[in-house]
């Protein structure tokens, strides 16, 4: 698969789900003719038009029935362990179908990959019913689940491909809109369970995931101008957690910060807090994310602003916290 700066710009235009489906899934289809894709009237929603045109027999449409979609995916995989991808909005593939996910993926460990797109507030004014802001919490509590969360379009491609290499259930969380801001402007090494350090600074370590990686990097640039130096880490794997990188941060930083477009309860911040709770003499942890209320309805930035998730707000919060 070709990766160069021009292509990275092209992938960014497609958004995370467009790149994941149009590039990543197409690549997988070439490598693995046994792979199947299940949708719930979501060929278009999951940007799978090109995939469907090329491989119509490999796409099974369950109709608008996400529970059935996940059950069918399990049945398809049950005989020979083939990889089956179930693709639609994050909110529906996880929350609507949660019992089917728990039973078939977590318990029976079928080789099913959930690809949830438009997580966080990306569904904008379709609002609460289409926002996925607790999906990591739900899936993280389930045994056997691997959870990947992409920071940009190139990483989204790498996530769906990496999910295929994991033998067992995976939830790939995609977020953002078309023209997804670039985090990785050149090819990079993606390993499940190994976080990527994108910037190093001795004062604060910021663990970010999804669309918040770009915001955290921009916040770090603002802070650097004020003399506060941040390490910024892309936590593309939420489960299993990269505890080595956490241990390093515990030893070297004065303040730990998590940033996610997800509830501050049960997501990346929750996972880090759980890890720290068993340690002694750890730096303070500030969890930035979706706070415990449903915000006013509107576009992506409007929602982010209400929860303090834009780069300037993140920088301001870190400044305040570091001076406490």
């Amino acid at each position: 698969m070709a990766i160069n700066p021009a292509l990275i710009k092209a992938y960014a235009k497609l958004g995370q789900k467009g790149a994941a489906a149009g590039i990543g899934m197409m690549e997988l289809a070439k490598r693995d003719p046994d792979m199947r894709v299940v949708v719930a009237d979501s060929v278009a929603i999951a940007s799978l038009d090109r995939f469907y045109t090329n491989y119509p027999d490999r796409v099974i449409n369950a109709g608008i029935s996400e529970q059935s979609m996940v059950g069918i995916a399990a049945g398809l995989s049950s005989e020979d362990g083939r990889a089956v991808y179930a693709c639609t909005y994050a909110e529906f593939v996880v929350t609507r179908a949660l019992e089917f996910v728990r039973h078939n993926l977590a318990y029976h460990n079928f080789n099913v990959k959930l690809v949830g797109n438009s997580a966080g507030f990306a569904m904008e004014t379709l609002s609460i019913s289409h926002w996925a802001t607790e999906d990591i919490a739900f899936t993280r509590a389930l045994p056997n689940m691997t959870i990947l969360s992409a920071a940009d379009s190139l990483e989204a491609i790498k996530c769906v491909i990496a999910a295929h290499e994991v033998k067992g259930p995976v939830y790939v969380r995609l977020s953002g809109l078309l023209n997804c801001p670039i985090v990785y402007d050149k090819d990079f090494d993606f390993q499940v369970g190994k976080a990527n350090v994108l910037r190093e600074g001795e004062d604060v370590t910021v663990f970010a995931t999804g669309m918040m990686v770009r915001e955290a990097l921009d916040a770090a640039a603002l802070l650097s101008a004020q003399g506060v130096n941040c390490t910024v880490i892309d936590m593309h794997t939420i489960k299993p957690m990269d505890t080595d990188c956490l241990d390093k941060a515990i030893q070297s930083s004065k303040l730990l910060v998590t940033v996610e477009e997800h509830s501050v309860i049960g997501g990346l911040g929750g996972a880090v807090a759980e890890y720290l709770s068993a340690k002694t003499n750890t730096p303070r942890l500030v969890r930035i994310g979706v706070n415990d209320f449903f915000c006013k309805l509107g576009d992506l930035r409007f929602c982010w602003e209400q929860h303090g998730l834009t780069a300037p707000q993140i920088a301001e919060r870190i400044t305040k916290e570091i001076n406490k």
């Binding site: 059935s68 049945g75 049950s78």
Partner: protein, 275 residues
């Protein structure tokens, strides 16, 4: 293929033994209780499936061409496990370990080596799994047929109907569903609580081939289950009596999940032996 094929008389005798095994298992379950009545309604269905219909090989229970049976209303294990024991999947004595901690027959586990092709239990969970299994069986040109048993009240779960739609849409004529129409759920009579009406008509309206039979009549069961549909999935609505064979359990809602005491056990065994 190492497998006995039973005639109708032999199946009738097997049903009697299965009911006795069910009582033994219920007694052994003790204070935990067991799903007695819902098991007794589908004894004949299980006996005919394992005695006369399903292809399997006792020398190789993982034989690729074995028919796939997936149990819905999976709490009816007092019918399911004795059927497999009777046909030689495991010794009848193994039934004594029913619900033992970490045992072979505890809970709802996926154990293909003893015939458990899936572990569903949560009602409405299995139909979509079955549809996926039947789709991939067609795509990979498998010889086996896929069977699934559902409870009638289980069909109150919406997910079942989602998958009924898909099964017809994908023309899954390698799929047969048996609905145990015992007219009862935990709280009582289905037609009073949540009327299912004419289930054959419903299935036909959903694009399935369907038939209604007496689910305790061995001959009707053999005939219906021997039929292979063409171009459509196939649903057998098997009218049954919940608790069939034991007078004080029949149509008595308090026996959905209940504790069988020694006296009740003796009376039940007596009735089954006479019946």
């Amino acid at each position: 293929m190492n497998r006995k094929r039973l005639n109708e008389e032999e199946i009738k005798a097997m049903c009697k033994r299965m009911r006795l095994h069910a009582m033994d298992m219920a007694l052994a379950a003790g204070s935990r209780g067991a799903h007695v009545s819902g098991s007794l309604s589908c004894i004949e269905i299980y006996a005919v499936l394992y005695g006369a219909i399903l292809n399997y090989d006792l020398d190789n229970l993982l034989w690729n061409d074995r028919d796939r049976f997936i149990a819905g209303k999976e709490h009816a294990r007092l019918a399911e496990f004795p059927a497999r024991a009777e046909m030689g999947f495991y010794p009848v004595e193994v039934l004594n370990s029913f619900e033992e901690n970490d045992g072979l027959l505890v809970g709802h586990q996926l154990k293909r080596e003893i015939g458990n092709e899936y572990g569903s239990m949560s009602l409405g969970m299995e139909m979509s799994f079955v549809v996926g299994k039947a789709i991939i069986a067609k795509q990979t040109q498998q010889k086996y047929h896929v069977y699934c048993l559902l409870g009638d009240a289980e069909c109150e779960e919406g997910s079942v109907w989602e998958s009924f739609i898909s099964a017809a849409h994908y023309k899954l004529d390698n799929l047969t569903v048996i609905i145990d129409r015992n007219y009862m759920s935990v709280d009582g009579n289905t037609e009073e609580l949540m009327a299912q009406l004419d289930m054959q008509k419903k299935m036909e309206a959903f694009g399935w081939e369907s038939v209604t039979i007496d689910g305790h009549d061995i001959h009707q069961l053999v005939e219906a289950l021997s039929h292979k549909p063409q171009g459509k999935p196939y649903a057998i609505v098997a009218k049954t009596v919940k608790g069939k064979g034991v007078s004080f359990i029949e149509n008595n809602r308090s026996w959905h999940q209940s504790v069988l005491n020694e006296n009740q056990y003796r009376q039940a065994v007596e009735e089954i032996q006479k019946g």
